[in-house]
Symmetry: C2
């Protein structure tokens, strides 16, 4: 498969660059703090009956009066996967494909990313670092009558002479919360001058990955976009070339990179992994039927919230957001509030000298195509406090500290989720850990995962979020 190694090398150099005279990392962290202090954010939980433009329609679903944005509907699930084979639940239905776009530009030969300190009502910290553009179709077709999002023209082809597309993929959102929702994840490079508006700044990819070592700074949308960048997935001859180029130009650190290069040392061929996925999709059925919200079993709706009768999973709450420097200063909207914190974790293991990720084929109700590739562990806290918990949870939670390669709290998208954060963990197990795994798990290299990310609907958002945290510095 012919690939654009020149672009990949540009991405790699940016990932290996931590120095940025325009915005050194310590300044960036101070700048984020400043942005946070500069805005007044008030999120008030209200009643459904107090919402503007939102209400329960004749079919009982929760909708905006314009018919746009998103709605909260019911679905009924019938599946042959797992232990629970039938249930109904509320789900977010937002059929439009939105933009998650990052503008990049070479500054002193290094690709810099134009990032935005963005306020979202559901954000922990209120302000998190988002892509240059984060826009639903309703957003950029101006349904809410605000001004058009900044930089939109760069992504809609209006500046096509000055821009080049580096990455352009459809990627899924949370299958347990969204019905088949996908976004267009896109990275472009601009050639000429470009205005940097207030709340925007240039960062290298290395700096973004450095900020991912802290809790809740980099938002979910940024994480999904950068997860598509195929760093570390080079054939041997390319990395040898890179090493030469990189060491000639500058003393880039490349030692960490080599542990991710599969150089044809992967445990399974890509065809075997495709066969494994094909088998999962053929064996398991997932039938999803839309139903009116009021027909969802075991869920209660009162004027304050839509919630499960056991207070499990999540609830939908109406809020009024009042924000000083956003396009629309005050508005009401529903937010999804998780009943508890979750955990997502990859177990990785060096096999033949190369890191392999223990990947799970996971079915979720809103998945576009039955199963997606998920982290080794993906569950809510409540689940793993129960007697057994899901497979491998104890390997993750009881890992000796020297095996924990990554452990932070990262937020879900603050435009839909109320202060939801998940623990993101990567654990490197040692030699003793068995290669033999249950039939719905498989060891896959980063190179191979990157190949699947290029094509639609393979890796779920949790897996992508974890992969975005992998740093080579």
């Amino acid at each position: 498969m012919k690939r654009d190694y020149a672009t990949e090398l540009d991405f790699l150099k940016s990932a290996l660059t931590l120095e940025n005279p325009l915005m050194p990392t310590e300044n960036f962290l101070a700048w984020m703090d400043e942005k946070k202090k500069a805005v007044k954010v008030d999120i008030e939980q209200i009643r459904f009956s107090e919402m503007d433009h939102w209400g329960f329609a004749a079919d009982s679903n929760l909708r905006h009066s314009s018919g746009k944005f998103f709605s909260i509907e019911g679905i009924e699930i019938d599946t042959s996967w797992g232990n629970v084979n039938q249930w109904s639940q509320p789900i977010i239905n937002q059929p439009e494909i939105g933009f998650l776009g990052i503008i990049t530009k070479k500054i002193n030969g290094i690709l810099h990313f134009l990032m935005q300190a963005k306020i979202e009502p559901g954000n922990i910290n209120f302000v998190q670092l988002s892509p240059t553009l984060q826009a639903t179709k309703s957003n950029y077709t101006k349904v809410h009558k605000g001004r058009a999002p900044l930089y939109l023209e760069y992504f809609r082809g209006e500046k096509s002479g000055q821009t080049r597309v580096l990455l352009d993929q459809l990627q899924s959102e949370q299958g347990a919360r969204f019905l088949k929702k996908r976004n267009r994840n896109i990275i472009i490079e601009v050639a000429g001058d470009i205005e940097v508006y207030d709340n925007f700044c240039w960062l290298t990819l290395g700096q973004i990955k450095e900020a991912l070592r802290y809790d809740n700074i980099i938002n979910m949308d940024t994480r999904t976009v950068i997860s598509g960048i195929p760093i570390g997935s080079y054939p041997t001859e390319v990395i040898r070339l890179y090493e030469t180029l990189l060491s000639t130009e500058k003393n880039y650190p490349t030692s960490l990179l080599t542990s991710f290069l599969d150089e044809e040392r992967s445990l399974h061929r890509i065809e075997e992994i495709i066969s494994w996925i094909t088998r999962q999709k053929s064996e398991y059925e997932l039938e999803v039927k839309s139903i009116p919200l009021k027909e969802v079993q075991r869920w209660v709706r009162d004027d304050m919230a839509i919630y499960h009768e056991d207070q499990k999973y999540f609830s939908v709450i109406p809020v009024r957001a009042t924000i000083s420097n956003r396009e629309v200063t005050s508005w009401t909207q529903p937010l999804v509030k998780s009943a508890q914190e979750g955990i997502i974790a990859f177990i990785i293991k060096k096999i033949k000298g190369v890191y392999h990720f223990l990947v799970q084929a996971k079915l979720e109700a809103g998945n576009f195509d039955i199963v997606e590739l998920a982290p080794t562990v993906q569950c809510l806290t409540g689940n793993y406090r129960e007697s057994n918990g899901p497979p491998f949870i104890h390997n993750v939670l009881n890992a000796p500290p020297e095996q924990v390669r990554y452990d932070t709290l990262q937020s879900e998208e603050g435009g839909r989720f109320y202060r939801e954060q998940n623990r993101n963990i990567i654990v490197e197990v040692n030699e003793d850990f068995p290669l033999e795994v249950p039939s719905n798990y498989m060891w896959i290299t980063l190179n191979q995962l990157n190949t699947f990310i290029m094509f639609n609907n393979y890796l779920n958002i949790q897996a992508r979020s974890l992969l975005s945290s992998i740093s080579f510095t």
Copy 2:
């Protein structure tokens, strides 16, 4: 991307082999004729009220009493693609994923394919060459109480010690007729002895491709399975190796092969093609709502058929099939009957010395993921007799004979379609043909098409059918 070049070489050798002492091609053609003469097939058009186990349910949809097999339902389509943006139509709903499986075995070092002379009620000629196994889930879970299909055990893992999976992909069926239907296309290799039942024979891939030069011998299921074999999609270094290996062993003809090798000479990088597909899927919306069959607008149902009021598109007819040597000797079922013959055609052009295929991003109501990659031209005859016809139709129909590389009639699946055949054409245009094409078309090499075939839901069944006909001998 690490690939299994040893397997690809096995496939290539089989594709380049026309001599088969077990079953020379002329014997094979005689054998097919014999099979055809050996059965008595009677397909009688009946009334819906005369059907056994089939009937119109309370919701007006046409169903089998077991709830299995398939049903004829209504859908309502809302799309921003094309000139007609809203319509409703009947569609075949068969949510199960079936098997289309071929067993292969090395005989004298060459991979041979175990093929079946299979009777299907809708087949032109009644008998066509099908994969070893062609089974819906209802089929192999024995809903129709016949015996289990032959060789099923090889595909369900019961012989896993003696078998190796060579190819295993989910591929779509006709998006205009089936609602999101997919089959598991699988090729396995067996090591030990295997019984060859009546109606089965061993053929090389070259022989199957040779038979594809004739009308209506190789059925659609065989065509889709062999289209997944990545012949001709090798990197330069691999083909050099192959040439050496092949010429050492035997004087294989490889001259045709080299015109398909892109050797990094493709007009577009794979990332650009992915970006183009992403743009199509983001820009065009496809909303499909299930409706009762009786609510489909402008379609009529009487006791003889379900048909469009202008007699266009297709109709659904009830038939009684009586066949002498099938599991169930006589049964009734609905078949879909096309209102006219169709045409599917690829325009190919040598660009930088490599064949590029002019591919169309096409939306069809039953598509799994909005658009699929389709041949340059795909339409019903009625369409192109109208004033203008679809783009490029005249380049195909008025091509000078020396540009026509392939031109045969090939059948749709005879288990669902009544004697439906489409003209399959490949035209090689010359230098003058413009590289500039409308925004929903793109020039793609065979290597790149083969890469997309590996992943789900990219090439539609018409594109795959045409690719299966490419011969290198």
